[in-house]
Amino acid sequence: MKIFSESHKTVFVVDHCPYMAESCRQHVEFDMLVKNRTQGIIPLAPISKSLWTCSVESSMEYCRIMYDIFPFKKLVNFIVSDSGAHVLNSWTQEDQNLQELMAALAAVGPPNPRADPECCSILHGLVAAVETLCKITEYQHEARTLLMENAERVGNRGRIICITNAKSDSHVRMLEDCVQETIHEHNKLAANSDHLMQIQKCELVLIHTYAVGEDSLVSDRPKKEEEQHANTSANYDVELLHHKDAHVDFLKSGDTHIGGSSREGSFKETITLKWCTPRTNNIELHYCTGAYRISPVDVNSRPSSCLTNFLLNGRSVLLEQPRKSGSKVISHMLSSHGGEIFLHVLSSSRSILEDPPSISEGCGGRVTDYRITDFGEFMRENRLTPFLDPRYKIDGSLEIPLERAKDQLEKHTRYWPMIISQTTIFNMQAVVPLASVIVKESLTEEDVLNCQKTIYNLVDMERKNDPLPISTVGTRGKGPKRDEQYRIMWNELETLVRAHINNSEKHQRVLECLMACRSKPPEEEERKKRGRKREDKEDKSEKAVKDYEQEKSWQDSERLKGILERGKEELAEAEIIKDSPDSPEPPNKKPLVEMDETPPIEKSKGPVSLLSLWSNRINTANSRKHQEFAGRLNSVNNRAELYQHLKEENGMETTENGKASRQ
């Protein structure tokens, strides 16, 4: 495909000399209605169009179809030629519409039959046409600017369609020579100019216009190569024009067997497609390999406007193509988008992706508690919308909406557990007011207030000892005790809020409120709890944020590691780290499990954290001072099961946790 092919620039040169004012000698009956009345009135005499009218009508029809099918990147320049050249429009996109051209043509008016024919010549127009072809279009300019040093790749080709009355073959040759010579001259000029481009190729279409007898057509509209007819039929046919690629599959298939040589004009011009019952709806996503704008051949005819209005009202029409074998296959769909009608090419061949493995058989396919509904809500919040007016950042640079969309996705996913059993807070209605606003780039005072209210509410719940929807998946017995549940919940909430504290000072305030309010059991209690085995899932949920925080605080932790390796001031250093909000994880949150001699495999992947270095050191020192617990000695993978005697009583009972209703 080439954007800058001959069809990028088309110049119409229409003869405006006195001869063109002559009648085309075809009569048009316009007084039709009177026939129904029986008062014996004689209808008005038919009138006939001038050669000029015929020429202008045809060229306008050409433009109508072209603007319908190729509204962009295919441009028309209109020139009228008499005693001089009148250029009616420019290459700019704003000038490319019928209204502009019609108004300009009205201003020119029909040729004056009494003007001196000697003064008039089509040559004026042809010279102007060559001149205008050298002028750079917006698209060419844009492409050249974009390509920089490769600007010479931007082609400059065009087509001149000249409607005139040629007097003889030698006259035609004279016109051809003139165009060639002018191109030659202008190319020299263009070589030394920034605003002009040399013409690489120019197609000259001369249309000889003359009046004929009573009933044959005067001027022929040249058929564009790209155009091709399709035909829909039920009770009536509607002939549509569109890009020929819409039938590329058909042309290549054995049905016509035209194959590679279709360009030589031997391609089939009309393909008949049949309307099938429109049982499609726009919720269905068809596999569509191309969509091309259409234009009806007879735009104002009843069948045409009936079809186009049907489509413009939002309905779609499926079309089927008869095959050589007699079978039919749905091959196309007509559908409008924003007032433009497109012919969609639907794939009708066998799919190479048939019988694929189902997603449930693949990775993650056996997990059954994905937060499908929550992610659906997330997707709706992250839907896109067009921002047509440019926006600017504070520093004055242009803001790209799509980059904003990516930023938002980044923020919204900083802490986003994928499955229900990995999260507590996202299963709690009470957390929603906080969770929905904390991801925002900036918070209002009201948002902060709502977050604080949410936290107070949670404190209240804890005080009343309300149950929490803690997952018991993978745990035995009743799961963690109530106070442990709250600890898990508060930790997770802290993780969420911490992921956003760098967004703004107000986010920071939410964290401060959270830290001030969250339960802090007395030291003794806390120490006891640390001994308890922590929930697997909590680790996982925190890991998600840890990953994020580790990236962000990479430099910090590197620096801290340096401090530790070099320094001996253990306690003092540990205190600093504990207070640093950027440290991967506060030390008081570490379960004792990880203080064992063999750290979990997970840890060995990344750089050794300050905490584990510290813990290992302390552990080694301490282990020399006491006898090992019996439980630890008998443990499997450093895990000993507690309260084994209770197992018989409680069995494998699982408790309510509010999850079941969510699935």
Partner: protein, 518 residues
Amino acid sequence: MPTVVVMDVSLSMTRPVSIEGSEEYQRKHLAAHGLTMLFEHMATNYKLEFTALVVFSSLWELMVPFTRDYNTLQEALSNMDDYDKTCLESALVGVCNIVQQEWGGAIPCQVVLVTDGCLGIGRGSLRHSLATHSQRGESNRFPLPFPFPSKLYIMCMANLEELQSTDSLDCLERLIDLNNGEGQIFTIDGPLCLKNVQSMFGKLIDLAYTPFHAVLKCGHLTADVQVFPRPEPFVVDEEIDPIPKVINTDLEIVGFIDIADISSPPVLSRHLVLPIALNKEGDEVGTGITDDNEDENSANQIAGKIPNFCVLLHGSLKVEGMVAIVQLGPEWHGMLYSQADSKKKSNLMMSLFEPGPEPLPWLGKMAQLGPISDAKENPYGEDDNKSPFPLQPKNKRSYAQNVTVWIKPSGLQTDVQKILRNARKLPEKTQTFYKELNRLRKAALAFGFLDLLKGVADMLERECTLLPDTAHPDAAFQLTHAAQQLKLASTGTSEYAGYEHNITPLHTDFSGSSTERM
């Protein structure tokens, strides 16, 4: 991209190659060895590829129709007999038929031709085919270029020196040229032996059959995926931008759009997005595709139980009826969606849009799509009852803007009749009457069709004389006024024939109330 393996089973393939140890090999053994390697690779790393096996000599035969069962293909390799001479053209015609019957003309296929570079003798030989190439008509068209998008890989069971000693290499290069340059010739480096055949097929695998691995990202949510079939490089404009564009291995989701809003967009190609489990070295340990192999099964079962973002995304896209817009490269986008193969089976699919700033006119420029939270009010409405899409183009198309076309007489007649019909219902239809009148006037002026204005003026004057006694007195005034105005316009003098000028209803003592009724 389905594959057709076209295997030469002519007698020349039975030529022995220099002895390697104690065993004696023929070229066909080397070929079978290479193909075995290819099939094994596909069975493990490219198992969704459909492959067919064709053998040929002076005749051709479809040994194995398109299948994903690589055991069957493998078995067929060991059941091949030796036949007579090489006749490549008829085999290629056979390939055309097989592919078109199965896949039509739009699906790209890879043709792997395995031959020893002996191109046959006399009629039907490649030399003969090429010599007569320019004298072909529609009925005996040469099969290349293939009538479907294709790559032709020629695997020669010969080394370069051997091929160059005759004109074989030139002929084979002609073949690739005839296929519009789509394809490549592979020859054996060094002596003909199993090892060198392997390395030749290894090159083919690297070129055409390495799985495309990528990371699907949505902010911090990520998943390792295989994209099947491999997305092919795409040339946007052969002249301005001849370098083929290749998609990123980071597939970044930028946002979401309802299926109704994206409304069956045209796509270049579509692909399965299969989550994969990678080990530390980045090697694939399982695609999750169930396999007979027990070891793999257990690995897959473990992978199946680890939450995967693809599954979450797929589930929500399916439930919500949405697509995810994914960035594939600079100014290149695509969409992810759930595709149901049957009632039970569905999958995450990715379709690629054409590269460019605005692949879908009804969405506008991709870069201008932003998050709804940046809009003053939610463009989807509080109750999710509206949509910012589709975007309206600046100019309406001809079928949506009441253009005037008089190329056929019927177009003109319809327009005149409209005026006449309304003229007879004056003063009730005053507004419509003048609207139609002005439309006709504008078109007549633009087309320089001034006789029509005179004609219609005459017609209106006649209508005036035909008014029944019961007619509203305003009707006569308006008809006379309109006729007069048209006559003035038909003089073409700028004073009355201005294009922008509109004929307005005559203000009469009666008209005040009547026009307001419109």
